[in-house]
């Protein structure tokens, strides 16, 4: 019955994804939660847009600017949360001990978390984006191919933060799980979601430009207001994301090793 060892197994990655798809299928509140908040946010900002269209020349220039910003921000947030929540599901179910006495590699776990985050984000943001079409006559997909570039750069940044958060929760226990909900909001004011980086004080601007999300949102505004797709912002976001994702994976693996040193994989709790 013993199977030969291979260093990378799509089947093992698929097993973890399958485990979470089984969980989603058995729990409709989990699926509802994925769609609920992005939709509530979209509806709120949709009405704010309707109001501002008649009162703000900025919004009147491109009525989708706020809705695009809120939905794209949620890509980052949901991408991050998807990684952290899926990992915490394993901790809540006290299943990590069994998982890591199987031949599952930590990096296979990382890829599984990324795939599940992608699925969850597509469900959540996709649902909200579809609801926006009849409700506010706003079609996010009109952004065209740049939307794919925006989406990928934001979700990759979310993965980098999510992996770090998952590592922190593994290392410090479920008492630190609130980090998953609040971590990303520490950088939200610097991501230039609703206003340009130039709005920030001079000393904060270099920090903002070091975030891939700031380049995405600046690029989004250029696309909507000037109808040009600035590839410089895209390249900056991609280059920064290589660094961010590498750091996120390294952080998760380092925390995983620390958990093995401290015996935390068998003793998950607060």
């Amino acid at each position: 019955m013993t199977t030969p060892d291979i260093k990378f197994s799509p089947r093992r990655i698929g097993a973890i994804v399958l485990r979470h798809l089984y969980l989603m299928r058995s729990s409709w509140p989990r699926v509802l939660e994925m769609i609920y908040w992005p939709t509530v946010q979209m509806v709120l900002w949709g009405f704010i847009t309707l109001f501002l269209k008649g009162n703000s020349s900025y919004v009147a220039q491109a009525s989708g600017i706020l809705l695009s910003a809120v939905l794209l921000w949620d890509v980052l947030f949901r991408g991050q949360l998807g990684i952290a929540l899926v990992f915490m599901e394993e901790m809540w179910s006290r299943n990590l001990g069994h998982l890591f006495v199987s031949p599952l590699r930590p990096y296979e776990m990382v890829i599984s978390l990324i795939l599940m985050s992608l699925i969850r984000t597509l469900i959540g943001i996709g649902g909200a984006a579809l609801v926006a079409i009849p409700l506010f006559h706003y079609n996010m997909f009109d952004l065209g191919l740049p939307l794919i570039a925006f989406f990928l750069n934001l979700i990759i940044m979310g993965w980098a933060i999510g992996l770090t958060v998952a590592g922190i929760v593994l290392r410090y226990g479920l008492g630190a799980e609130s980090v998953a909900w609040v971590a990303v909001f520490a950088i939200q004011p610097l991501c230039a979601i609703y206003y340009p980086v130039a709005t920030l004080p001079g000393w904060l601007q270099p920090i903002a430009w070091s975030l891939p999300a700031s380049h995405v949102f600046e690029g989004m505004r250029e696309l909507l207001l000037q109808h040009t797709f600035n590839t410089t912002h895209l390249y900056w976001a991609m280059a920064l994301n290589v660094i961010y994702l590498t750091a996120g994976i390294a952080a998760f693996l380092a925390y995983f090793r620390a958990a093995r040193q401290r015996g935390l994989l068998l003793q998950i709790g607060e």
């Binding site: 199977t3 089947r11 729990s27 179910s93 299943n95 001990g97 069994h98 006495v101 093995r260």
Partner: protein, 254 residues
């Protein structure tokens, strides 16, 4: 005080240490586990049993020492070795919302098993789980969960099975059925079992060798009969109490 190390060993542990900050949980332990038999790891609470099992599985990194399993260094070849091993403990859960079949399917894929559906069906028959396959794991009784956990640990038909209190909190009938199944499995496959248990009747029944631990040290080893004779007691329960209270026979104490 270590068992003799020979080529018939599946596990060889040499001078194993584990320190947590200022606490020495395992303090220079050496022992071996022989192929095809059950070896029990005994000791009171905090003696270091679970810590040692976690290190054998690679879940916990030793502070010092060497672990060799099937002749290979565990830390360097962990993933290759894990294909040939498995583990069950009532203290490590499976996902509660998944059904028994879903849980076994997920773990079967993790071990990349061929003919997974048939393997699950056979294990369900062997462990009397057929009626439970489509019930959620979280809805099962403690005894049923233990059987499912055992089924998970037998999925890959391991050559080495590590069991942490496999019959804890089970009624005598269920516990007996589990022991019988493990004995049959061992007879059929020649697997080696390392068992941590507080149930001395279970240990006497199943174990060919016993490793007695106290405060992170191996204090004695031998077969149940040898230990009972050496300590001049009537049962392993009495031997356990004698060791826990440091009432060692002169041959050991010196």
């Amino acid at each position: 005080m270590s068992l003799s190390i020979n080529e018939n060993s599946v596990i060889e542990v040499h001078q194993l240490h584990k320190n947590f900050d200022q606490v020495n949980a395992v303090n220079g332990v050496s022992f071996s586990v022989q192929r095809g038999v059950t070896t029990a790891l005994l000791g009171g609470n905090g003696a270091g049993k679970t810590t040692i099992i976690a290190m054998l599985l690679g879940l916990l990194l030793p502070s010092a020492g060497r672990i060799t399993i099937f002749g290979e260094d565990m830390l360097q070849n962990r993933y290759r070795l894990l294909h040939r091993m498995n583990f069950s403990s009532p203290y490590v859960d499976l996902p509660q919302r998944l059904t028994v079949r879903q849980n076994l399917t997920v773990y079967g894929h993790l071990y990349r098993l061929p003919n997974l559906g048939e393997r699950i069906r056979q294990l369900a028959v062997d462990l009397n789980l057929t009626e439970l396959l489509d019930r959620r794991y979280g809805k099962l009784s403690a005894g049923q969960k233990t059987r499912v956990s055992l089924a998970k640990s037998l999925l890959n038909e391991p050559e080495l099975l590590l069991l942490d209190e496999p019959t804890a909190s089970l009624d005598p009938d269920t516990a007996d059925a589990i022991r019988s199944h493990l004995e049959q499995y061992q007879q059929r496959t020649g697997a080696s079992i390392l068992l941590a248990s507080h149930n001395m009747a279970e240990v006497e029944r199943m174990s060919a060798n016993i490793i007695m631990l106290r405060q992170g040290l191996v204090v004695d080893t031998g077969s149940p009969t040898e230990l009972i004779t050496r300590y001049q007691r009537n049962s392993m329960e009495e031997v356990f109490i004698a060791i826990a209270r440091n009432h060692l026979p002169l041959t050991v104490a010196t």
